[in-house]
Symmetry: C2
Subunit: 439 residues, 2 copies
């Protein structure tokens, strides 16, 4: 029986999950591959540290060269996380002709170009299923199941922290701060949750989805990104009354040569499949020419889900090693990658929920409505509850479809009025089923 040697860099939570899955499923993997996967070494900081999953002591090493310098090792699995030393080790592995599997989204978002170019030059693959939506096999599906299709657009719930927070606000009536505290208490949010709730994590994942879906290398920093920190219990309750739930969406679609990408909260219809994505779950809806809409849903993170994603990448890379062993470089899914700056979202149109904060005085509604009208923003529906005397008003307005640019101009004039207490809240209304679909 043939065998393929792999090396692990890092044996934290996900690394131990990978070792456990490889051990428990050795026979199934061998049956699929026609070869055994042998772990040749595991790089750790402290070999003596107790580990919940037993690892043979003679595999543990503190010397990366024991793995990178071993010519029998064909695949290096990077699970250190963060930028350095992960970047240096991955580049070194690639230059030595080793394939790489990683779940390190931050590394790929920051140094993806350098790493993919080095891999392309060396004729090796870099797989990263675990870096987007944890155990949801979305990259594999985009790469394989949809390889013979053309993807037009995608819409995802890709940040489990934000989804947990919004879901807790929706289902338990919590306000934002309480929901974040709840997420932290349950281990679904960091002590400093800003990367998640600010949307940056979702933008990094969206950039990787754009790479695989459209062959477009997008700098996550150029993706218009809005987090969930301004969402209030009032917005959630109003959405509910109007037949919507609020979700943080990562959206991308192509229009001719242009790629639109953006991350923002949105009201999605309750009858949408997205409304059923609760707690820390992730989901990605893909629109493609032949297949139409398809959706992939599962846990976005965790030792075993992410470990599974990493192992399925390892098996896939090993199959390529066997298939293409002496027939030249492996097929490179990103052979035609190009750098793309997302198109300005100014001309994108949506319906919108607006919440204008004004004092309870006569004439305010008229001024706001006239101002919107002057800018060509049509009002579909308006509602304001009767406040107590002297109490401020949360004036809810639903607009017809209007471009970002037009609405921004209108709101800038609305908010410039003396009678507006604080900037108007705006949440786009999005039907995920329609995103990026051919008209």
């Amino acid at each position: 029986m043939r065998s393929i040697a792999i090396g692990l860099l890092g044996a934290g939570n996900v690394g131990l999950g990978v070792l456990r899955i490889l051990a428990q499923n050795a026979d199934a993997i061998e049956a699929r591959l026609g070869a055994r996967v042998e772990v040749a070494g595991v790089l750790v900081r402290d070999p003596a540290k107790p580990r919940p999953v037993p690892v043979s002591a003679d595999l543990l090493t503190t010397d990366p060269m024991r793995i990178l310098g071993d010519p029998s090792v064909r695949v290096v699995v990077e699970l250190i996380g963060g930028i350095e030393p992960a970047r240096t080790l991955v580049l070194d592995a690639v230059r030595r002709g080793k394939h790489v599997v990683t779940a390190n989204k931050a590394l790929l978002a920051t140094c993806g170009r350098e790493i993919f170019e080095a891999a392309s030059k060396a004729g090796v693959s870099v797989y990263f299923e675990g870096s987007v939506a944890g155990g949801v096999p979305i990259l594999r599906t985009l790469r394989e199941g949809l390889a013979s299709d053309r993807i037009e657009g995608l819409c995802g719930i890709v940040n489990g922290t934000c989804n947990f927070v919004l879901d807790a606000m929706t289902r338990h009536g919590l306000d934002y701060a309480a929901a974040v505290a709840e997420a932290q208490g349950q281990g679904y949010a960091e002590a400093d949750p800003s990367l998640d709730v600010g949307g940056a994590d979702a933008a990094q994942k969206l950039a990787l989805l754009c790479l695989v879906s459209f062959g477009a290398r997008v700098d996550p920093a150029t993706i218009p990104t809005e987090g969930i920190t301004r969402i209030r219990a009032f917005d959630i309750a109003t959405a509910d009354r109007l037949g919507y739930v609020i979700k943080l969406l990562a959206l991308a679609h192509t229009d001719g040569d242009r790629l639109y990408a953006r991350v923002h909260p949105a009201m999605v219809p309750k009858e949408s499949v997205f409304a059923g994505v609760h707690g820390p779950f992730n989901a990605v809806l893909v629109h493609s020419v032949a297949l139409g809409r398809s959706l992939y849903y599962g846990l976005g993170a965790g030792m075993m889900p992410t470990g599974m994603a990493v192992v399925s990448d390892v098996v896939e890379v090993c199959r390529n090693v066997l298939a293409f062993a002496d027939a030249g470089p492996p097929p490179e899914a990103f052979a035609t990658v190009r750098d793309v700056a997302p198109a300005p979202a100014d001309d994108l149109e949506t319906e919108n929920y607006l919440c204008v904060h004004v004092p309870n005085v006569p004439g305010v509604l008229g001024r706001v409505a006239s101002c919107l009208g002057r800018h060509g923003v049509s009002i579909k529906r308006m509602n304001q509850d009767t406040p107590g005397p002297g109490e401020p008003i949360d004036m809810v307005i639903l607009t017809e479809r209007v471009s970002n640019a037009r609405l921004r101009a209108a709101l800038s004039e609305v908010d410039a009025g003396n009678d507006v207490l604080r900037p108007t809240d705006r949440i786009r209304i999005v039907d995920p089923d329609a995103v990026g679909a051919a008209p």
Copy 2:
């Protein structure tokens, strides 16, 4: 550049979709495979028939031996449908050492054992992604993405006709007959829809899902199956009021050595992701040890979705041909298949919706409630609208969790009463998120 020859048996709707996808995506497929896929022949009944997708005349043949007898053809794609001549041709192809791709669910459900055994003996693969849930890459995901996981249970909406009908009843308030007519008008139901609405089609697909998920060969005829023909607009409206939607579910889970499988309509909570599966869409929710819950959703049928599924199978089989060319037989995913009779569902417990049809006379409620009580069926909730004088009553009862056997005994006694107008309707209440999950 290497190339692999394939032959098509049949050029109907799906066959033309396959040819179109192969032609339009030849370069992408070549990049993935490291080899070109060449169509060596297409078996048709009438080569002169006009076809909406142009097919080179010298590929068309009415002689199956031109494909089966060609030693260069490594993969045969069967898209004739039905049992014969598909069965004979597939068996012949397999015995000649050719791999087979088919979307023929009826063939596999009826002759699967014979075909898989012949394939195993000949050392070739039979792939059938297109036979379950059309374009949803569920079999691929079960086989690959979850190859290193253990599947505990699954729950699917796998019949697009039934889902369309129930969805039309739910969203447009149609009664059953009008919804079926609507489905027929839109091409989502056959003139004789009985295979679909009776549940047999879903049972065939469930049998294939059990094969791939559990290595269990189940005769679809042994799967307890109940269709949607008895669902009334009243049930749909009551479900809505109670916070549920009615879906036809195909369910399977393991408990030790036992495999439970069944097809029946169920009330699922509105907040479930299944509630968002509308119209002709399909979805399969999988529970596995490492990954937890994951769900795959897309169009269940159609020229291009099913064509995509077939092409992705072709690419997969070709990769195996290349990988294992001279290294013995390909890995056989069903090497450990065993014959399994589904365990009797008598001891399975669910909550239930009951609708008892009785005349508006005193004492009836008491008799029904006492009868349920005697059998240990606890009532969770009861409701009856006030009918007009002399009008019959639809008495709605929600039960606590109770086994099938116990409820059946109770209902048999209820329905034996002189005061019951017709058999009591019973719809199980199922939370798909909990099916087959570890407790």
